[in-house]
């Protein structure tokens, strides 16, 4: 086992990163903030996939690479595997994590607003948060030679689904 840090470190860092980009650097420009958060994830995923695929045979097809993301990669990053993998066999894969760690541990900013407005803000903050893992997945796959688009679906909380569309 390599070096470890407490989980609070990564939780605090990611929360603060999302907060800073949304509320300080790109306040009122949420599309720009989202793109930056995704880009940070992309770099991390790109680097992690190099590290986590050392000493393993090359993947022979897309499905094998996606399975690697679901199992080994997810375990390294989130300490559990993806619970359900679906595909339409035409380049779209849906990875469902029944209890996505970063949402279950996410500390929603204490806010004075309550009710509908507070709830909307919480959902918005959550979706901004998800650009980071989406970027990680896209970065990892693109480094494995699989260009794709990744989005997240949280209509079934605390489950979270990541939808991967491979570009032809």
């Amino acid at each position: 086992m390599g070096r470890e840090v407490s989980e609070s470190c990564i939780d605090s860092l990611v929360t603060e990163m999302v907060f800073s980009f949304c509320n300080r650097f790109y306040a009122d420009k949420s599309d720009l903030a989202a793109r930056r958060i995704e880009a940070i994830g992309y770099q991390v995923g790109h680097q992690l996939s190099e590290r986590y695929t050392m000493e393993r045979p090359r993947f022979s097809d897309h499905l094998e690479a996606i399975k690697f993301i679901c199992k080994d990669f997810w375990s390294e990053v989130f300490k559990k595997q993806i619970d359900n993998l679906k595909t339409n066999h035409r380049g779209t894969f849906v990875l469902q994590d029944n209890r996505f760690r970063w949402l279950s541990r996410m500390s929603v900013e204490p806010s004075l607003e309550t009710g509908q407005e507070g709830e909307n803000k919480a959902t918005e903050a959550m979706s901004m948060h998800l650009y980071f893992p989406c970027g990680i997945i896209r970065g990892a796959l693109s480094n494995l030679g699989i260009p794709c688009a990744v989005s997240a679906d949280i209509s079934n909380l605390p489950a979270c689904s990541f939808v991967i569309r491979i570009k032809a």
């Binding site: 840090v5 990163m17 650097f25 880009a39 994830g41």
Partner: protein, 187 residues
């Protein structure tokens, strides 16, 4: 000011908390720094923003520190600095720091870090020589101390990314606000 059971050691806390692969943390921090350099362009501004992010983290992390370490608020700056180095760094980053270079009146010291997971794999490019890569740490310390009523100034005096043999943060106590209790003493 410690409770009867006494403070727990940094090692004991680190062993008991949820831990993750340091790589994820290290690479995420690196990607943030690089994104800030791209977006903000000025290295000085990046230093400032990293410090601000650290400050925001510090003011929240102090609660976890106090709760898990079983330390009640330290009154003494000396004791506090010691707790940060020996317990704080260990329980979050898994590394031990030491406290040295106390000045005569006990209001200024150095926290020295020989091992630092933030900089695994990092090599500063020549264009970033003015960057305090780990500036988030100084912000965390400043923020955490402010929440226990100590206003400080935290500056880097040694940096391994700039060729020094260790990381050294100088922590200077500017003002200690007497603790205000939310309730009256019932004497």
């Amino acid at each position: 000011m410690s409770r009867a059971s006494g403070p727990r050691s940094g090692d004991a806390i680190f062993a008991s908390v949820e831990r993750v692969n340091a790589e994820l943390f290290t690479l995420t921090y690196g990607a943030i720094v690089r994104q800030l350099l791209t977006d903000l362009e000025e290295v000085e501004e990046v230093n400032k923003q990293l410090d601000q992010m650290g400050y925001n983290i510090g003011i929240r992390l102090i609660d976890e520190f106090l709760a898990k370490s079983n330390v009640s608020r330290c009154v003494d700056f000396k004791e506090t600095a010691d707790m940060i180095a020996k317990v704080g760094f260990k329980m979050f980053l898994g590394v031990t720091a030491s406290v040295t270079n106390w000045d005569a009146d006990g209001t200024c010291c150095s926290i020295v870090l020989e091992d630092n997971p933030l900089v695994d794999f990092v090599e500063l490019p020549d264009t970033c020589q003015g960057l305090y890569y780990c500036n988030i740490l100084s912000g965390v310390i400043r923020g955490a101390l402010e929440m226990v009523s100590m206003k400080t100034e935290v500056t880097w005096t040694r940096d391994m990314l700039r060729g020094d043999d260790a990381f050294e943060l100088q922590v200077k106590l500017l003002k200690q606000v007497p603790e205000e209790y939310p309730y009256k003493d019932d004497d």
